[in-house]
Symmetry: C2
Subunit: 449 residues, 2 copies
């Protein structure tokens, strides 16, 4: 199974750009005197490492292999772009090289261009990826000499600030969580002690933590090929709904997903009677974190949120999500760090954990999908003068979890990236229409519009 | 390691083609009412097959996944086309679906378009692939309704004739050989009896069969990524050299490869003192074949040809190749069918055979590369009115065999396809220049020009 995360950015070419604008930009981004060591790391194992995978430096680094110039067929709409990204996201990265690829894509209509990047999930988490991306952009539309993200940088350079205000209480990416816990999905197993605490970590909190997620069409065996869909909506619309209903922006994101998934499942005559449950990675109060000495940015937990897909009223769904999120966070507050870790680990490798859970009397992971949210840049960013119109995360569907929704904020928008197994989640792009409908329904239900 | 063969065809758009010509052609080729069963086969294994791989029919067939519309970035030269094909050829086919892909490629300069197809080698051999390709083309430039190769056909339809005249004594593709022997490289092993005969099959013919191939830069561990280069030359030029030197067209093909490889190795200061040896699959006299009841088309063997890369004179290389090929064929004539099979098997799975050979006292396969030759259409062919300008095979480099050269004849040209490991064979495209130089050198040496 492909185990990489990805990102798609769409840019507007600057005024007066010539037809070879993208080609010239590609050449410019290829001129790098020294490569950032992160982009030279490749996994190796052998006799000298006692058979363990370790990182080593690639001595035959070939930038042309990793950074590619691609094009869309006519008419070059977003549809053709998403089709190309689905394809690119469905192929595996080669272990024999540093595990990343960037495609600079020309041929998008309305004078736009796009960049798709994929990186093995063990190299970066969602938040680091967002920082890397920003490090190669500028808030100055006239700046032309920002080196690409794979260029080595002076170590003194400060990292661009992320939108910490938005992050308070908001969800964070599953990859950040995975990274914070130091667990990779390839890990052949988890420490026995962790496994033993799983039952307690989950079962002791029955009042607050969902233990029953219905079986759905998303929770089956998946294939390696992918379908990707992406769209952004103004944060102001989400904020207005939150204000009118006394809920958070993140609650509104979850409510949009809930309504969209409900309608998608109704279309497929596959809506279960009981609510779907989403795992939502959240930031923890730094004081709660054992490892929070670096400012708390890595203090992460997960909440199991009942999405209220069994409720037909949008306002009722939103209010149910708000309560579920609040009780989930209270439950986190009453749990030991070990319990938090154990519950969080559930989200990291369900395909590995499933047999273990079964031995503990749990038939399957207690959630149906993962919805996560990465804070992104608040200011409008530029790539060599090209204005970034949107940035959309592509994530990792895994066996038993065929759909993944990851969002990030950017400037005035909340950008959604939906990644699904091509076969298990047919017509994934219809979820975009349902998300749009649900946003309007929520505005209607809360009296905003 | 990717184990698929591929083909690249370049076409000239018909007069008056509009900018959406390729898009319209893509739509037309997607309208298929019934799929050819060969294109629905996918490998499966499980409890019901006792863990063995068997073919089953894909019940979720999704043509859009297999047939794709792609585009080249500007300026859309052959360079960009070869770069795209290198990339496409370096990714694996998913086992969970029928193992083939076709890309219809727009954006090639001079009003051209291209089609790249890859197919897992167990589905077709080189000759069958050529027939399939031709079945979807027409000799009539005005014909517009030939269904694509994946469309089901009336069973009574006769197969287009291949160029059997050219095939007499000419080499044939390694894939055809593999298929004829019923051996796949994935086979975990070969029958013990076959292994036992290897030593005899090879060692008994020391006078005619090369047993010593020097170690070269091509005979090392390879990576999964690919570099592809392709070019065609007029058969008339090769024929003139053959006539002047009393050699065959196939000898001239091998001499071109020999000189090109010699100069490439000199560039890399890596030319061994002794000649490189190529395995060349050849057609056998039907009367020799045990299984030749179907007209002899499947009666195949291999010859180990000394390429004469240690000789500085082009004419001397050609004459050495001619002698080596003749003695190799004579040796085949004196061998039992079992010996032929055993020796042929050497070429099929060196990575599996190497340890076995070592036990027999042979350090490595007795050849450095495979050069094969598939007869193609003699007439000019058209795809929906677009004239086929050339058709170039992409093959399978394997561990210890980093370079593969496959040729096919088409109309007036001999088209060469060179497939190499991207890392082990640097600057593969320079071999095209060396092939061109060598053809001129051979014309010069034989007094043709």
């Amino acid at each position: 199974m492909p185990m990489h995360v990805g990102g798609l950015q769409v840019y507007q070419q600057p005024e007066g750009a010539t037809p070879d604008y993208v080609g010239t930009l590609y050449e410019q981004m290829s001129q790098v005197s020294e490569i950032n060591p992160l982009f030279l790391k490749r996994p190796t194992r052998g006799l000298s490492t006692a058979g363990q995978w370790v990182w080593s430096r690639d001595d035959h680094f070939d930038l042309e292999y990793h950074f590619r110039h691609s094009a869309l067929p006519r008419p070059g709409r977003v549809r053709e772009l998403l089709e190309l990204c689905s394809r690119l996201h469905g192929t595996r990265l080669a272990r024999e090289r540093p595990m990343w690829e960037t495609h600079l894509i020309e041929g998008l209509d309305q004078g736009r261009l796009a960049m798709y990047t994929k990186v093995h999930h063990s190299l970066v988490d969602g938040i680091s990826a967002m920082r890397l991306l920003q490090s190669a952009l500028s808030t100055d539309p006239d700046e032309r000499d920002v080196p690409p993200m794979w260029a080595a940088r002076p170590t003194s350079e400060s990292e661009p600030a992320t939108d910490d205000a938005e992050q308070d209480g908001a969800s964070v990416s599953l990859q950040a969580l995975r990274s914070a816990l130091g667990v990779t999905a390839e890990a052949a197993g988890l420490p026995a002690a962790l496994i033993r605490t799983l039952k307690h970590g989950v079962l002791d909190e029955t009042s607050a933590v969902s233990l029953y997620a219905p079986r759905t069409m998303f929770n089956t065996q998946i294939t390696g090929s992918r379908r990707f869909a992406a769209q952004g909506w103004p944060i102001a619309r989400l904020r207005a709904i939150g204000k009118a209903s006394n809920t958070t922006i993140n609650d509104v994101v979850l409510a949009m997903c809930s309504g969209a998934i409900r309608n998608y499942l109704i279309d497929h005559e596959a809506l279960p009677d009981v609510s779907l449950v989403s795992m939502v990675p959240v930031g923890l109060n730094p004081s709660r974190s054992g490892s929070g000495s670096d400012g708390g940015g890595n203090a992460l937990g997960v909440v199991m949120v009942r999405l209220g897909t069994d409720l037909s009223d949008p306002a009722a769904r939103l209010s149910s999500i708000h309560r579920s999120m609040r009780t989930g966070k209270q439950a986190l507050g009453s749990m030991s760090q070990l319990q938090i870790t154990a519950m969080s680990a559930l989200g990291l490798a369900p395909s590995i954990l499933t047999p273990l859970l079964r031995m503990q009397g749990l038939a399957r992971p207690p959630f149906n999908l993962v919805i996560s949210n990465v804070p992104g840049p608040r200011k409008t960013m530029y790539l060599n003068g090209a204005k970034m119109l949107g940035t959309y995360p592509l994530s990792i569907p895994i066996n038993g979890m065929a759909l993944n929704i990851t969002c990030n904020s950017y400037a005035e928008n909340m950008d959604f990236g939906l990644t699904g197994c091509r076969r298990t989640v047919p017509h994934l792009q219809r979820l975009l229409g349902h998300l749009d409908d649900e946003l309007a329904a929520l505005e209607n239900a809360t009296g905003v519009s």
